[in-house]
Symmetry: C2
Subunit: 423 residues, 2 copies
């Protein structure tokens, strides 16, 4: 894509009320636009990052054998009354609205209740189980305060997966696979090393639920890590009894700030009982379906990556979710030879599956370098009058704490290098 | 994909309150689930169709040089007050909600107002123009009645494109290109022959806007077609003056029922003036940006295709938007040889880019045939004990009014045929 075809401009300043570092940078670099606190439009660069995160998650969900659907935001109150989640005293973050005839509707903050209701049409017997289904869908949560940028939205895109099993054994088997799929996702988006499986309280049907917590100073959560094993617990389960159960010594624990980038829950029959999702089991008896739910907030993942990899110059995207792989900076758009070479490089990279942004704007080299650093595409190729005679192109590579400048590289080598990095 | 991996079952009956034929079939075949009137969940098969429509539109929008973004449903009232569209007396289909502090918010029924507001950060000079941007985003419209299934939703996915030009000349040039892109879209989804460019009233900045109306007995609109030219007018512009202007003879007009599958508007400065989207023109004067907006409802396109191509047996999808290209029916899942051949065919087709659904369920052949007819995938390959010795596979092809049964075909020929049809 050519930069003149993207309408966004970089900004010197973020909105005054934006306190989150990642949101400030994402706004300044033209990835997101703040409609109001906790409500962000995804601009073209931001949408590309979000789509890449989505596709990574989709691949991992499909590999689990789950099928994709897309549910609705508008929700009939009847379903939620049956599960006792309609009352604002019970659920404190509903956005509600109403039809012309004054019927109250909710805007879904999650979808356990309607998916259970829907499944009554499709699940009748143990032969129909297990079922796994997921969606990428916008959730609405009426947060009292929203000050963490895209990491805690009032409106945000979420991947939610639901599992329907005959019993706890069938459920547990899938739950372990889902745990592994989550590790795969966080590894692929670049958060693998910093993300800890964290034990949290489990509710009626399981001793624990599990959070995936990424270490980050801007995190709103505190977790306690056993640095030997990498396992962590959150505050609500930091008791002697549970630590003994997990064979963790309290003295080994280190308190860290973290961001919850995903969570998985054993729901048991919490929803299938009130909503009567009941099957015949192999013995001919009627039994409520055993459920699980598994969430990842995509904006939160994007914000966390932005927050963690940013440096004083701007954003730094890992190659798998970068809006583009290579940023070609044509320093002399009014010079025919430079422009010819820039177009050649742009064409060749795209033809070889390397997603490339070409800065074809008629602005100074200084502006181009500063914007490229702010936007944070992994590789930059700089084309100027003094690079044309080299027989190779100049590539800059900047990662946090690791800068390579002015390296000469053949395009064929760069194409191979990027292809290997993406694997 | 294997049919046992999709949780949906076909149904004998649709909900009693569902009067739309297309919605009845889409529900019975397991493409959509009705949450309430005008609010439909996309089940796996339906989502595949919707995604294919989305990708066709995306390709045509990108070919126009437009960049994709994604705006929010939640809307600050201030913007809409400036354009005088916040008051429920002025806009009668708002869904509104509120924050914890009682601030009223709207759920966007369209995005002209916020996109104009957003562009103030990115458009300052004639040098920044033109700008074209689009999104696929959920709209909320509080319809008094919603009885046309997914063809008139209260919550629905829309493609909305916005153009920002320096003046009417720059706008008109793009408007004509957008018109052509719309024809491309409707041709590619299978509605080309039935879709008429229809003149509608234009507002302050242009004599006409244009609707794309698809002939259909279930349509809510009446249009008047000049069958010689294929041009049409809607009721609001059916005057002698306008007919003379369009060089249409009233006696040549035929009244037909139709569905509005798309529309394009010249907005002029209707939004840029109140929201102060002003640029320096080349003469150094300040001038409001000249805008256009261009919509397509994806569910409406899907519903229209479903409605028009359905026959007494079920749905009939055109190959470009069918959930799968080929439906392989293994009639004897308990026979090792049949299952081996079914798996071979399934694998070979998928490896050659033919999207294939394999009916691997342990149900009777009659159920498989009836379900396959209801679901409406263009090609069916039937594998049973008496087809194994043939040296070729049996392919059924069913279109409305055109049925080919029991044709023997080599897979390599089928792969080539489908590849050609998709072009």
């Amino acid at each position: 894509m050519k930069q003149r075809g993207i309408f966004t401009k970089t900004r010197r300043d973020a909105p005054k009320d934006e306190t989150s570092k990642s949101a400030q940078l994402l706004i300044r670099a033209g990835f997101v636009y703040k409609e109001m606190a906790g409500v962000y439009t995804m601009l073209p660069l931001g949408l590309r990052v979000l789509n890449k995160i989505e596709n990574i998650i989709r691949e991992e969900m499909n590999a689990l054998g789950a099928s994709e659907l897309n549910m609705t935001a508008l929700q009939d109150s009847e379903t939620w009354k049956k599960t006792d989640r309609w009352d604002d005293e019970k659920v404190d973050n509903w956005f509600k609205t109403k039809l012309k005839n004054d019927t109250q509707l909710g805007l879904a903050f999650t979808h356990e209740d309607p998916i259970t209701n829907l499944m009554r049409e499709h699940i009748n017997s143990y032969k129909d189980l297990p079922v796994y289904t997921y969606q990428f869908q916008t959730k609405f949560r009426n947060e009292l305060r929203a000050k963490s940028g895209i990491m805690r939205g009032r409106e945000f895109l979420m991947k939610d997966l639901y599992s329907f099993s005959l019993n706890k054994e069938q459920h547990d088997e899938f739950y372990e696979k889902a745990k592994q799929a989550y590790f795969n996702v966080f590894k692929r988006v670049g958060l693998g090393d910093l993300t800890h499986l964290t034990f949290a309280s489990g509710g009626l049907f399981s001793k624990f639920s599990h959070e995936f917590q990424t270490l980050c100073d801007a995190g709103e959560d505190l977790i306690y890590i056993d640095e030997k094993t990498g396992l962590a617990v959150n505050k609500e389960v930091l008791t002697d009894e549970i630590l003994a159960d997990l064979k963790i010594n309290r003295n080994d624990l280190v308190e860290k700030k973290a961001i919850e980038v995903g969570n998985i829950f054993t729901l048991g029959t919490r929803f299938s009982e009130p909503l009567e999702l009941i099957v015949d089991n192999p013995d001919g008896q009627r039994t409520p379906v055993f459920m699980g739910s598994y969430g990842i907030g995509l904006g939160r993942v994007m914000g966390t990556v932005a927050e963690i990899f940013a440096d004083e110059k701007g954003l730094n995207w890992p190659i798998n979710i970068a809006p583009f792989d290579v940023h070609v900076l044509n320093l002399s758009v009014n010079d025919a030879e430079c422009t010819k070479r820039a177009e050649e490089v742009y064409k060749l990279l795209n033809e070889n599956g390397v997603e490339t942004l070409l800065d074809d704007r008629d602005v100074s080299g200084g502006v181009k370098f500063a914007d490229a650093d702010l936007i944070g595409i992994p590789y930059k190729i700089v084309i100027g009058k003094n690079s044309l005679g080299l027989g190779a192109d100049k590539v800059f590579y900047r990662r946090k704490g690791e800068t390579t400048e002015d390296t000469e590289i053949l395009l064929s080598d760069l194409i191979e290098k990027i292809s290997n990095e993406k694997k």
